[in-house]
Each structure stands twice: as C-alpha cells, then as structure tokens.
Symmetry: C2
Subunit: 103 residues, 2 copies
C-alpha cells in the first residue's frame, strides 16, 4: 500500500470522534448491554444529551435500542451492534496511528 497522506490518516469517523459518544461506546464495549440510567450515571451526561447521542449512534447503526418495562416503569436497553464494534475497533486503530504520527 502506498504511503497514506496526512489527510487520509486524519479523516476520522465523526460519529465516533465526538467524546460523549466515544465514552458511551467505551462503556458498551465493556458490558455489552446496559440500561439508560446506568449510562446516565457512568457518563455524567444530562438525560437530554444522552438521549440525543444515543439517537445519533442508533441512526449510524452503532447501537441497538430496545424498549421494555421494569414492572410498570419504562426502561431503555442499549447494546452495541456488530457494526458498532467494528467501527470502534477501526477508530481505535486509526487513532493509534495518529498518535504514532505525532511522536
């Protein structure tokens, strides 16, 4: 493979590059299924922000969102999709290369 240009190396997936979403996926990569309130507590995001970042991740096909009930209280369960796992892996690799580039 020919040497990559800087522009290519730094062309990061913007969905994952947002710290809040990276943080969400980081939690998900460890536990693989969580509810909204657990994420809320782990990430210290506001409910509104967590909700909208999850929507973005869902639209991008990175996470799956399932609604259920805990007794009569609604509950939202979030898990990472296969695509999400692959994208996160790719992002990590790319960022590793960037960090090396800056040494």
């Amino acid at each position: 493979m020919a040497k990559q240009s800087l522009a290519q190396i730094f062309d990061l997936d913007r969905t994952l590059h947002e710290p809040a979403r990276l943080m969400i996926l980081c939690v998900l990569s460890a536990v693989d299924e969580v509810d909204f309130l657990y994420l809320l507590q782990e990430t210290e995001l506001t409910r509104g922000n967590l909700s909208s970042h999850l929507s973005k991740l869902e639209e991008a096909g990175m996470v799956a969102i399932r609604k259920s009930f805990q007794g009569r209280i609604p509950q939202t369960i979030i898990s990472m999709t296969k695509e999400g796992q692959l994208s996160l892996l790719a992002y990590r690799r790319q960022m590793q290369i960037i960090l090396k580039e800056m040494e």
Copy 2:
C-alpha cells in the same frame, strides 16, 4: 490520585480534538516552522479552512503567526508556541489513556 471518572477522562481539549487542527499541529511538531503554502499542500485543506483553523489555533495561543515577504509576495510563517507543544503533549497522553480504557 483517586480513580478518574469517565467524564474526566473523555473531557478533551476541543481546540485540539478537531482533526484538521490536530493535523496542522502534527506537521508543526515535526518541522517547527512552516509557511502557509507548505501547510496547504501537506494538509490538503482549502485555503479558507486552513486560514480559519490557524486563526483558532492562534487565538488559543497554540501557534504564532508571522507575516513577511518572499521578494514582493506576502508570506505567512507559522510556528508552534511552547503552550501549543505542551497542550499537544497533554492531548496525546489523554488520548492514550482513552485508547487503553477501550481495550
């Protein structure tokens, strides 16, 4: 030091977190003084984008911008400040921690 929260770990410097600016600093960290046209070529940004990202970096105190002439043609020379070097180092360290966190 107490264990850092995820929110703290992922609280990245937004000035540096933007890929285009990270790329600019990456070039600067290697050569330490460049002109506008060299950056333009290395980064493959448009002139407008390069100009505005440089302004942001200058406002943030990360780079110093000096105007001179090459014969009668105006020339812009950019270099990284000490603060820029330190901030970039800090960003790299923080991102290393994040990548570890996601392993």
